[in-house]
Symmetry: C2
Subunit: 135 residues, 2 copies
Amino acid sequence: MSTTTTDTNTFDAFDASCPSRRLLDTIGDKWVSLVIAALGTHGRMRYTELSTKISGVSQKMLTQTLRKLERDGLLSRTVTPSVPIRTDYELTPLGHSLLETICHLKAWAEAHMRDVDTARETYDQQRNPPGAVPL
Amino acid sequence: MSTTTTDTNTFDAFDASCPSRRLLDTIGDKWVSLVIAALGTHGRMRYTELSTKISGVSQKMLTQTLRKLERDGLLSRTVTPSVPIRTDYELTPLGHSLLETICHLKAWAEAHMRDVDTARETYDQQRNPPGAVPL
DNA sequence: CAGGATCCTCTATGATACTG
DNA sequence: CAGTATCATAGAGGATCCTG
């Protein structure tokens, strides 16, 4: 066993090859979670539907994100060579399992984000007392 | 009711104020997960211990990350004004709960990262057939 | 419609030097 | 020791134009 991070009890993502590290690299991406969430909520979606739903995303980022997720096997891409071409994206079973995992995060957020906000306010007030002189 | 993302079943981080969105902004940070993991593994640690353990992190990033996590109430910072000053960092209960959540991610990674790797190989081989002419 | 290719601009981060 | 402040840079990401 050694100190490899593949052991169930020694997770620390210091090893760049540790799966948990690579997962963080994946879901840490700003758009990945949004695409997963969109497809998880709406099922099969077309390229334009995604770009509309995820307002603010550029073509470049959307395409780049979709390609990455397709490569990782998290979603499937189906091209229909009709007159105006049509492309559909859909979560694979693997993608759905990640969606569920993300929902665990959501549960934590819903349970504790209030605490985080309170902590922030307390911290900010201590560093920015009422009598502080503005620049 | 409504489309608010605070509902348990309608998680989509499209709303920037959605807790799940802000959580992703937090754990998506490259160093956050490493600091949490380090403190989760070793308990109380000094500044230098952290910078040693998390090899490759700059002073700037480490300090910045620690401040952010302290502000969010995920870790506590204890300064001892001894001769050479001493500062200790430790996960708060809130920080520990996030550590547990991150472990859920780890579980997913360990269970499915092989599938992701396989998907990547398949994808790459299809786009880079053996007969492809290099540039 | 669904992208590919470019250019360009910030921002995040690293390196360095200084301090209580 | 544990930072703060400053400068420099790579790379992420946006805007734009073009095409099957």
